[in-house]
Symmetry: C2
Subunit: 145 residues, 2 copies
């Protein structure tokens, strides 16, 4: 039986082998799985990005979130250029093993525009409306020192 | 300039054409975009699924969330077989237009296992641990009447 199928009927508190779980994740053809980052205390959804198995392992080991950048085709240690890191609180995997939810503590803005969350484009009254202001000017965020 | 690039520096409250926004969304090669569903009041992340442009338009029109099922290759009007519908409160689009966040009011469980959220597999103490119990027996959820 598929690993995640076998966890469906398990009781709360039941434990399974972590390595088996990580290998049973349904990575796509590029070896990637979508990962939603949520601020652990406020519940705000900050961003969605992609991880591969090595980036999940690194994140668990270091406690700092590491994604895989599809545009740059390299590891993306969140905050390495902006200083706005994500400390990992918990990783959750969904029922069919094809999406991750990362509970994080985000330093400053998660978004490259300087906003706390990337989800600032809101559909409202038949328009798209900008829902928030930057916390930090993005020019400052990525300036060369 | 790319549509979503043009919204980056806009002030809070600025408005853009909705149809232009919906068409500028970065659908993947299958015409799909990932959509995160979050319970609007508690902030709980319930599930992630996929939408195409017609399912987004239908969702906005009806106020009930309609996904595209990749496994069944058809529209998936959430709750049509289980009765556990998602009423739409708001759709948000992320900074680069490649992910949606749906704020919803979920009737009962979002997960096919009968749990409120699909993210019940928790990495904890070097194990995978089951984090919640079903609200409803899944046998009851999908029984034929």
């Amino acid at each position: 039986m598929n690993f995640f199928k076998s966890t469906e009927s398990a009781d709360k508190g039941a434990r399974f082998d972590l390595d088996e779980a990580l290998q049973a994740i349904k990575y796509n053809a590029d070896g990637l799985v979508p990962a939603i980052a949520q601020q652990y205390d406020s519940g705000e959804v900050l961003m969605m990005a992609w991880m591969n198995l090595p980036s999940i392992r690194e994140t668990l080991q270091t406690g700092r979130v590491c994604y895989w950048s599809r545009s740059r085709q390299q590891y993306w240690r969140k905050g390495e250029s902006s200083g706005q890191i994500q400390l990992l609180k918990e990783i959750r995997i969904d029922c069919d093993g094809d999406t991750l939810l990362l509970l994080v503590d985000q330093t400053g803005p998660a978004c490259h525009t300087g906003r706390k969350s990337c989800f600032y484009n809101i559909i409202r009254n038949n328009h798209l409306e900008i829902g928030s202001e930057p916390l930090i000017d993005p020019e400052t965020l990525y300036k060369q020192s």
